[in-house]
């Protein structure tokens, strides 16, 4: 009986090794741990114990070979080693880092900006509603809003669904892989979520069409086209502008019937927007983070010792503060940064308002918009 087991076990080993040779690339880690030769070479294990353990492994293998279908076994042995990473992003050299740091101690930024100076920010809208493209220096972000009617979440029957989706594609850099979120991406989506969604910028209750049955699901897709630092601020402007630009199809409810009108039937209506929060990011440099830079470029981000993102609206109401890791920064400096951010947010807010107004004027060719509009005037 025992001899039979050993024979089966040996056969199993051979089978596994055969599979390993067939599969490309092989999984040496898995196979070698079951290799009897490998175990015999370890001298300090007593022979009786070894034979016992082999017996146990043999039994386990027989059971596993009965339980698993052959193709499952095959696929398991063919699992490649931890995937070789895509070409990494070219890192900034030590010389360049040193140059950047030394320049900062002499109050000079590599692109010649002042410490509290933003790069030129521009905002454009597409032909359709709900598309905004933001350019912040060489950083480019496109946000697109879409809406469809779905069933609300069971625990929130009176609320619509609002989602912000960020995915960094290989378009940004070949270092990003499809369906494999990186840290940058996770932080970006978390910050946008906290700034726009959790601050209640969009009134989700207004998205409800029929309690517990029908609601709008509004989705913002943030596409990063080019990454040259400060993704968060640029993405936030894009998301807010796109949402304010967006028009969802008009609806009417009669009893249990919800009618969604097409754009040809009724003029689409804007979302119920409560306030516009914007992010401002500061980066800190020096031993104790005593130098604060606004709107760091990608190179500057590589040498920062800490960063601090604060989200405010134009009234100066703080929506969120995030300082994730890095060196401890003096509290007074953080307060100063927040005060500086208030000024910056007012400027951004004015710019977005103005661009939205210009776009509305451009669309309002015959001056008929006021009559076509379905919603009432609202004090903001």
């Amino acid at each position: 009986m025992e001899k039979g087991t050993v024979e089966l076990q040996v056969w199993h080993q051979k089978f596994l090794r055969y599979l390993a040779c067939e599969g490309s690339p092989p999984a040496p880690g898995r196979i070698s741990s079951r290799d009897p030769l490998h175990d015999k070479s370890s001298s300090h294990s007593p022979s009786s114990g070894a034979s016992q353990s082999w017996f146990a492994i043999g039994i386990a293998l027989i059971f596993s070979s009965f339980l698993k279908s052959p193709d499952k076994l095959n696929s398991e042995t063919q699992i490649p080693l931890p995937a070789v990473n895509m070409p990494r992003e070219a890192e900034i050299s030590t010389n360049e880092k040193q140059f950047l740091k030394t320049a900062l101690t002499e109050n000079v930024r590599i692109d010649g900006r002042l410490f509290e100076q933003y790069r030129p920010l521009s905002l454009g809208f597409g032909e359709e509603f709900g598309v905004a493209e933001v350019e912040l220096g060489k950083t480019r972000i496109l946000a697109k809003v879409s809406a469809e009617v779905t069933v609300p979440y069971a625990d929130r029957p009176f609320d619509g669904i609002f989602q912000i989706v960020t995915e960094l594609s290989p378009m940004v850099s070949p270092a990003f892989e499809v369906n494999r979120p990186t840290e940058t991406e996770v932080l970006l989506s978390r910050l946008l979520e906290k700034t726009v969604r959790r601050s209640g910028a969009l009134d989700t209750e207004s998205l409800c069409l029929m309690a517990g049955k029908k609601c709008w699901a509004v989705r913002v897709d943030v596409h990063v086209l080019s990454h040259d630092g400060n993704l968060v601020d640029a993405a936030c402007v894009a998301v807010v502008a796109a949402l304010r630009h967006f028009r969802k199809p008009d609806t009417s409810v009669e009893g249990e019937m919800v009618t969604v009108y097409t754009a040809a039937e009724r003029e689409p209506t804007p979302l119920s927007w409560l306030h516009s929060p914007y992010c401002v990011t500061w980066s800190f440099y020096g031993e104790e983070g005593e130098m604060a830079l606004l709107d760091a470029s990608w190179k500057e981000e590589q040498v920062q010792v800490a960063s601090f993102t604060v989200s405010l609206n134009r009234h100066g109401e703080v929506c969120q503060i995030a300082k994730l890791g890095g060196v401890a920064v003096d509290a007074v400096l953080l307060l100063k940064c927040t005060a500086g951010a208030t000024v910056e947010v007012k400027r951004i807010s004015e710019m977005v308002d103005q661009k939205l107004e210009e776009d509305a004027k451009r669309r309002d060719k015959g001056g008929l918009m006021a009559e076509l509009r379905a919603e009432n005037e609202r004090e903001s």
């Binding site: 070409p87 597409g126 359709e128 598309v131 060489k138 809003v145 378009m171 989705r219 040259d228």
Partner: protein, 251 residues
């Protein structure tokens, strides 16, 4: 919605990538970046030629079967154009981001709606943008190529070039063709029911649009001034010429 008559091309507008292009025509807009030749992953690399990786991302929602289908069509088409044998064990990565799709004002579209006719009508724009981005990245190619869509209406009317979503909806079949500059057929995808004659007619119209005109023909066309249809080969040639001019400006 107003649809711009002339195609709009921007080259080299994204700083990080090796090559980039934005192209919009007939309501469709696509942004593309090309990186390459770069190091291929060990598990993917081919010992004798470069691999081409095409990534298509929709404007809204997550990519699905539709995008994978478009990727496979584009990948197999572009493989014929790029000189892959010159770059063994390398990778050309082409990322295509659809930024705008014309809306049909008469239908409320679902986010994840994927009818096959909609799939095809975005294909020429994707293809054209990929070619422009490859030109921008200075990737060695055998030739340039261009693509177009033709719809055959249900009422046996004349075939429509670059149909709107509404025209696609009311047509019996749509066809996508890609031709090289010399007029060799590179890609042919059809959807709907059609006869051999209809396909032939669509093929001839597409070839006329995509193939480079001879010089004397261009002069004649300029004279009568009624050529509203943009010749795609000329467009790509003009863009390539502008790019080489600006690149060699220092000489």
């Amino acid at each position: 919605m107003t649809i711009s008559a002339a195609p709009d091309v921007v080259l080299d507008h994204l700083s990080k990538a090796d090559g980039s292009a934005s192209y919009s025509y007939a309501g469709y807009a696509v942004t593309a970046t090309v990186n390459g030749p770069i190091e291929a992953q060990r598990r993917d690399e081919q010992p004798f030629e470069a691999i081409v990786d095409v990534i298509v991302r929709p404007a809204a929602g997550v990519g699905g079967t539709r995008e994978r289908h478009l990727e496979s069509i584009l990948c197999s088409t572009l493989r014929h154009l790029i000189l892959l044998k010159n770059f063994p064990r390398q990778l050309f990565q082409i990322a295509l981001q659809i930024t705008s799709v014309p809306e049909n004002d008469y239908v409320n579209s679902k986010l994840m709606q994927a009818s096959s006719s909609q799939n095809l009508s975005v294909l020429p724009t994707l293809f054209q943008t990929a070619i422009l981005a490859l030109v921008s990245a200075a990737v060695p190619m055998k030739t340039t190529a261009s693509a177009t869509t033709i719809a055959i209406p249900k009422d046996y009317g004349s075939p429509l070039l670059n149909p709107t979503p509404r025209q696609v909806q009311t047509s019996s079949s749509i066809h996508v063709f890609a031709f090289t500059r010399q007029g060799d057929l590179l890609l042919s995808q059809s959807d709907g029911s059609f006869s051999q004659d209809e396909w032939d007619v669509a093929h001839d119209i597409a070839k006329d649009v995509c193939m480079e005109k001879k010089r004397e023909e261009v002069d004649v066309m300029l004279d009568d001034d009624e050529s509203q249809t943009q010749n795609m080969a000329d467009l790509i040639r003009a863009e390539a010429q502008m790019k080489t001019d600006s690149d060699l400006h220092w000489k």
